[in-house]
C-alpha cells in the first residue's frame, strides 16, 4: 500500500479537476477527450508522473463521459463514441425526458467505467507477465497484429493498411539511434533539413497537430458553425428519473460494458466501434428491439456503458504491451515519455506504485464523473452553449505551448504542429485513416528495432514464423483479422449492391 503516499490532496484535486474539464471538452461538439488530453498535456510537464497521470486520466474519463450531453440534448455526438447515444437519447429529450435520459446515461457510463477498470486491474498485469517472455520476434509480430487489427476495422481496409505503413515510414525519418542499437546514421532526411530533422518529428507535436489543430481547421473550413443558444437546450422535466429503470438491465449493462472493454483492448479501434457494437448487441437481444431508435432506455444504456467500457480496456494493451488502445491513450504514451518512463511489459512490475496510483485515479475519476454529472447535470447541459469563437483561439494557443515546451523550447516543434495539423485535415479528404497512421507513427521506431535485431540475431526471415508457438499464433491472428475484414467488406458491398 505504499502507493497511498502518492495520493495527496493535489493528486485528488487533479483527478477531479481533470474530470471536470474533460466533461466540458466532451460536452462541446467538435471537441473530444483526445483534444482535452492534448491541450492539457503541457500542464503535466512540471507535475511529476503520478500527478500528471492523475490529471490526464481524469480528462480521459470525463471527456468520454461528457459526450453524452450534446448527444442527448442536441442529437449531436459530443465525441465519436457517443454516436449511438443520439439514437435513443435524443428522441427521449424530444419527448421531454432529457434529464431522465442524461441520468440514465450517466449511471450507465459509471457502470461501464467501473467494469472496465476491474478488467484493467485484472488483465493488464497478467498480460504483461506473459509478454515479458517475448523476444524481439514476438514483439515485432504484436505490432504487426496491432496494425492489421486497426486496418481491418478501418472504413477501408487498403487505405487503413496504407495509413498505418505511412505512419511507420514517417516515424523513421531522422537518425537510426545508437541508444537503440542503431548505427547513428541519418535516413529519409531531405538535404538542407538535417538540422531540424536529425531526431525526426517529435511525437507530441504530431499528436497535438493531428488531433488539436486539424479539428479546428476542420471547423474553420465549415465556417465555425454557430453554437447553440440557451433556448436550444431543452433538458425537460417530463418524466423524473428513478433507479427502477435499471431493473432487468443487469445483463445489458454488463454485456455492453464487456464489449466496450474488449473493443478497448483491441489496439486503435476507438470508442465509436465500442458503442456501435454494444448498441447492436443490445438491440439483437432486446424484447423491445422495435423501440430502438425511438427513445428506448435500453439502447441508451448499452451505448453509454459500451463507450465508457473503453476507458479501462484501452489502457490494457498500453500498460502491458506498450501499444495504445486508442488515440487518447496514444497521447498518454507521450506523457510517459516526457517523464522518462517506457511503457511495456516491464512497466507494471517495475512501477507498482504508479500502476496502483493509476488504478486509484481511474476509480476516483469515475466516481467524480458520476457525482458531478448526476447532481449538476443542469449546469453541464449549458456547456454546449459556450461559443466556439472563444474556445478555439485559446485551444490553438495551448497547442502552441504543448508543442514548444515538449523539448524545452524548440520552435521546429511548433512548425511540426502546423505541418501535421494540415496533414490531419487533408488526410480525411484523402480518405486516409488517422488512427492507424498515429499508431504506426508511435510504434514505427520499436517495430524497426525488433525487426532488424531479429534478423541480426537469427539471420533468416523464417524466424518470424518458426520462433515459437506464440509467433505462429500471432500469424494466425494476423491472417484471421485480415480475412475477416475482407469477408465483411465484401458482404457489405454485396448488401449495398442488392439494396
Amino acid at each position: 500500500m505504499e502507493f497511498l503516499s502518492i495520493i495527496s490532496p493535489l493528486f485528488l484535486f487533479l483527478v477531479v479537476g481533470g474530470t471536470f474539464v474533460g466533461i466540458i471538452f466532451g460536452a462541446i461538439p467538435g471537441m473530444t477527450a483526445t483534444m482535452a488530453v492534448a491541450v492539457c498535456l503541457p500542464l503535466t510537464y512540471s507535475l511529476g508522473l503520478e500527478n500528471g497521470l492523475a490529471l490526464l486520466l481524469g480528462l480521459y474519463v470525463g471527456g468520454i463521459s461528457g459526450g453524452l450531453v450534446p448527444a442527448i440534448l442536441l442529437g449531436i455526438p459530443g465525441t465519436p463514441s457517443s454516436i449511438t447515444t443520439t439514437f435513443d437519447g435524443y428522441p427521449m429529450a424530444q419527448k421531454g425526458e432529457g434529464e431522465k435520459a442524461l441520468r440514465i446515461g450517466i449511471c450507465a457510463s459509471f457502470v461501464g467505467g467501473i467494469v472496465s477498470l476491474l478488467a484493467l486491474y485484472l488483465a493488464a498485469p497478467s498480460l504483461a507477465e506473459f509478454a515479458i517472455e517475448f523476444s524481439y520476434v514476438e514483439k515485432f509480430l504484436i505490432i504487426l497484429f496491432a496494425l492489421t487489427v486497426m486496418a481491418a476495422l478501418s472504413t477501408d481496409l487498403l487505405m487503413g493498411i496504407f495509413s498505418g505503413f505511412l505512419g511507420i515510414f514517417i516515424s523513421l525519418i531522422g537518425v537510426y539511434d545508437i541508444s537503440d542499437g542503431g548505427n547513428g546514421k541519418l535516413r529519409l532526411v531531405p538535404p538542407g533539413t538535417e538540422y531540424w530533422l536529425d531526431s525526426g518529428f517529435s511525437l507530441l507535436p504530431v499528436l497535438i497537430g493531428v488531433f488539436g489543430l486539424a479539428a479546428i481547421l476542420d471547423q474553420a473550413e465549415l465556417g465555425v458553425p454557430k453554437g447553440q443558444s440557451r433556448g436550444d437546450v431543452k433538458i425537460g422535466k417530463g418524466s423524473s428519473f428513478s433507479f427502477s429503470v435499471f431493473k432487468g438491465q443487469t445483463v445489458n449493462l454488463l454485456r455492453s460494458s464487456g464489449i466496450g472493454t474488449f473493443v478497448g483492448i483491441l489496439p486503435g479501434v476507438g470508442g465509436s466501434a465500442a458503442s456501435i457494437l454494444a448498441y447492436s448487441q443490445a438491440k439483437t437481444f432486446s424484447k423491445k428491439s422495435a423501440n430502438f431508435g425511438k427513445g428506448e432506455p435500453t439502447g441508451l444504456m448499452a451505448s453509454e456503458s459500451g463507450n465508457n467500457g473503453l476507458t479501462g480496456g484501452a489502457l490494457v494493451p498500453l500498460l502491458s504491451l506498450g501499444i495504445p488502445g486508442d488515440s487518447t491513450t496514444a497521447l498518454l504514451i507521450g506523457a510517459f515519455t516526457l517523464q522518462g518512463i517506457q511503457v511495456g511489459p516491464l512497466f507494471i512490475g517495475n512501477n507498482p506504485d504508479t500502476w496502483n496510483a493509476m488504478i486509484f485515479a481511474m476509480l476516483v475519476a469515475n466516481i467524480a464523473m458520476f457525482a458531478m454529472m448526476y447532481f449538476a447535470i443542469r449546469y453541464f447541459a449549458l456547456v454546449v452553449t459556450i461559443p466556439k469563437h472563444v474556445l478555439f483561439p485559446i485551444i490553438l494557443m495551448m497547442c502552441v505551448i504543448g508543442a514548444y515546451t515538449i523539448n524545452y523550447g524548440i520552435m521546429f516543434d511548433v512548425w511540426t504542429l502546423l505541418i501535421f495539423g494540415l496533414f490531419g485535415w487533408l488526410a480525411v479528404k484523402l480518405r486516409l485513416e488517422i488512427a492507424p497512421f498515429i499508431i504506426g507513427f508511435i510504434l514505427g521506431p520499436s517495430a524497426e528495432i525488433y525487426f532488424v535485431k531479429s534478423l541480426e540475431s537469427f539471420g533468416t526471415l523464417s524466424i518470424f514464423f518458426t520462433k515459437s508457438w506464440i509467433a505462429m499464433l500471432l500469424w494466425v491472428l494476423i491472417i484471421g483479422s485480415l480475412t475477416a475484414s475482407i469477408y465483411l467488406s465484401r458482404r457489405q458491398a454485396k448488401i449495398a449492391a442488392t439494396g
Partner: protein, 139 residues
C-alpha cells in the same frame, strides 16, 4: 525452412533496411490503391472543386495566415526580452483576438469587447501559469 529467406545485415547499412522495406510496401499499396480505386481517383477533380467551393475560405485561410504569422513572429519578438516568454504573450494577445473575431458570426460591440477582454486575460493567465508557476520555457 532451414535456408529459406536467409538475410545478412551489414551494420553500416542497417539504418536503411527497414525504411527500404516499409517504402517498398508503401509503393505496392499505393499501386494497389491506384488500380482498385482508379475510377474514384479519376473522378475526384469535381469533388475537390466542390470541397473548395463549399469551404468558408475566409475563416479557413484566415486561420492559416494568422497562425503562420503568429508562429513566425513569436521568436523575433521574444528576442527583445530573452528568457521571459514575452514573445509568446505579446503575440498571443492579438492572435487570440484576431482568430476570435474571425470565428465570430456577428460582431456587435459588446461581444467584441468581451473577446478583447478574453484575449488579454487568457494569454496573460497562461503566460503567468507556465512561466511563474511551472517554470517552463516560452518564446
Amino acid at each position: 525452412m532451414g535456408n529459406l529467406g536467409q538475410v545478412t545485415i551489414d551494420f553500416e547499412r542497417s539504418h536503411l533496411v527497414f525504411p527500404i522495406l516499409i517504402g517498398s510496401i508503401l509503393a505496392l499499396l499505393g499501386i494497389a490503391i491506384l488500380i482498385t480505386r482508379r475510377d474514384r481517383i479519376a473522378a475526384s477533380g469535381p469533388n475537390w472543386r466542390q470541397t473548395f467551393a463549399d469551404m468558408d475560405k475566409l475563416r479557413f485561410f484566415g486561420t492559416l495566415v494568422l497562425t503562420v504569422l503568429y508562429f513566425s513572429l513569436m521568436v523575433p519578438v521574444g528576442n527583445f526580452w530573452p528568457n521571459t516568454g514575452l514573445g509568446f504573450l505579446i503575440c498571443s494577445i492579438p492572435y487570440v483576438l484576431a482568430t476570435g473575431l474571425l470565428f465570430m458570426h456577428e460582431r456587435p460591440l459588446r461581444q467584441v469587447l468581451v473577446m478583447l477582454v478574453i484575449a488579454v486575460i487568457g494569454p496573460s493567465f497562461v503566460w503567468w501559469l507556465f512561466t511563474e508557476i511551472f517554470f517552463l520555457t516560452l518564446p
